[in-house]
Subunit: 376 residues, 2 copies
């Protein structure tokens, strides 16, 4: 049995998405910027995708821009906000994705932008009182940048609450929704969120395609300049087949969103229960009450097997994310686990699910873990 | 009959490329950054592609970086050269692609970088004596940025000559090879070129994938910061299937490079000869003696049909690039045609070929043009 429980890292293409792209690769190959028939056909496909994404997010098509990935979109928001909207300060958290944190380091050094990182508690909950205090304490034009679902812990941010805090202090709000897109309902017409980024390959669309939502009132200038594609927000010939694939995967995700979420919740609860029974002392990370159903971060108690756990699971054909090792050993602790003060003697593994996982895969994984630790 | 003669805008995927990607989409879906088996399989595919590209260009694998397109790569070179290598001046030409020219406008205004554009003659030949003079006249750290094959005219730059001029004045040399990659042999081990960019969809690979060559001695810092992919030169989850497709298309292009070029030369010469016979007064743009065989820029003499020519060809199912209209009418003249002082009463069409075009398609196109103008 081969078990893939690393869906927060990337998801495989669904068969329907594969077939849609296959068909498009054979039949739709024009450059969307060309004015002739083949160009117009390609252009239409892109605009249909844009409209579908926008409609589901209760946004207008003119607010959705395709990018090569969420990383690109996040880089664009952070760097162009400073240039185009006069942002002087960015408030974020230490448990954001590296594409936020490393870009913040850059804007600090290259653009002299002030960066404040909010405190997080041992569950990874972000201190929103501190956010209010910081916003109240300064008149500087501020962008608040907090991800929707944390990719290591699964914690869900209350977007409405944060959006309202930002609104009451006249701050801009950007959220990285890479882990939540396709799993949560969004209503961007509330105008609480100014920027939102997403990545196709987290919801069974191809790698190399993502999108950026920008509120119509805060459209940034392009980071990539050139042929003025994407309404002059993102130059470069459009990733046509990627966009077509994203469209299909996105539509499928929202058509089945409730059913998928129900399945994810069952898988996660199933795994939690089994691990609690099979492995005494096991810990679950994150703000349990406010968690995405597709991520389960587990810390295994001290054991001589911990150091080899990634490898042992790999040998059992169980694919998980273990790079974020919570140990002072050779593997560096992830910045997220460090920020929440994870016990260095525990070994943390992120299991992340998709609706395509089965209860049998969960059983197999739990039994394999029990066997591994039993031999210790 | 449907005739696509707009291959400089984009090329369709070859059947072999489609099948390769189709196979990969069904079987290879890991995140190349994951350390487990599926991640390693994905990573291996990317490294095989990188090695293949590097080897053909006589570069090392550590000098090839995949990007989402040539536009992204060009933006990166121009902006990071200033930050990372202390470039104070960029010398370029007025007939570069917009992703160079618009980015130059930006570095001028946002980074205060000096930009000099070289003169071009009415054939679009770049004044290389002026380049030497400019380089000799200043000690400022300079990047010379000139494209290899001009996308509108087909003019080929003498890379060795320009590289030697740059070397003798200690300047850096960047060339956009979007139109020449897959058609020309490169030997980057000569160290005359510091940066070179290419785009997959110009040689029958997918849109949304390209690459950047950087000489080992002038590796820039990333423009996109984050997860440190591509040896920390380009963050963002890799466009795995795009890279696999690029690899296949690239290998095919170079395996057949001579045969394809012979075919392209025949198609172009065939079309030129027919047009000269059928349409009196027709002009061909560019430096005829130094031209790529895949681009034929034709100016049609004044005629009441000129204004409608794009549309009339489209009606005949002949796809060409006519947006670059050389007319003072409603359609804006392209910056390239303007730079070479194209006669505004002529109508310019770019025909661009692939080895998949046939002599019958050329006959059909020439006959359709003859019919259109005969009715005038």
């Amino acid at each position: 049995m081969e078990v893939y429980l690393d869906h927060a890292a990337t998801t495989p293409l669904l068969p329907e998405v594969v077939e849609t792209i296959y068909d498009a690769m054979r039949n739709i190959n024009g450059n969307p910027s060309s004015t002739h028939k083949l160009g117009r056909i390609a252009k239409t496909k892109i605009e249909q995708a844009r409209k579908s994404v926008a409609s589901q997010l209760v946004a207008s098509a003119g607010e959705i821009f395709f990018t090569s990935c969420a990383t690109e979109a996040n880089n664009m928001v952070l760097t162009r906000c400073i240039k185009d909207l006069g942002v002087q300060r960015i408030i974020s958290s230490p448990i954001e994705h590296h594409c936020i944190l490393h870009t913040l380091e850059r804007v600090e050094t290259e653009h002299n932008t002030k960066v404040d990182l909010l405190d997080v508690n041992p569950k990874g909950a972000i201190n929103l009182e501190q956010l209010e205090e910081l916003l109240a304490a300064s008149e500087e034009k501020t962008l608040v940048c907090l991800m929707h679902v944390n990719n290591e812990l699964g914690n869900v941010l209350d977007l409405e609450k944060v959006g309202n805090i930002c609104q009451s202090h006249n701050a801009l709000f950007h959220t990285d929704a890479a882990q939540s897109m396709g799993k949560y309902a969004f209503d961007l017409s509330q105008n609480l969120i100014h920027f939102l980024t997403a990545s196709g390959h987290k919801f069974h669309a191809p790698k190399g395609i993502g999108f950026l939502y920008m509120n119509a009132n805060t459209i940034l200038k392009p980071m990539l300049t050139g042929g003025a594609q994407e309404r002059n927000v993102r130059s470069g010939t459009e990733n046509l087949h990627g966009i077509i694939g994203l469209h299909k995967a996105f539509d499928l995700a929202y058509a089945e969103v409730e059913e998928r979420n129900r399945k994810l919740a069952e898988l996660k609860s199933n795994m939690k229960n089994q691990l609690q029974t099979l492995i005494p002392g096991v810990l679950f990370n994150g703000t349990i009450e406010q968690q995405s159903s597709h991520i389960l971060s587990v810390s295994f108690p001290p054991s001589p097997k911990n150091e080899m756990l990634d490898f042992l699971l790999d040998m059992e054909n169980i694919m998980v994310s273990g790079g974020s090792a919570c140990s002072s050993g050779s593997v560096k602790a992830s910045h997220v686990l460090e920020a929440i003060g994870c016990d260095a003697d525990y070994k943390t593994i992120r299991f992340s699910f998709s609706h395509i996982n089965t209860p049998e895969e969960i059983d197999f994984t739990c039994n394999s873990l029990a066997k591994i630790f039993a031999k210790a």
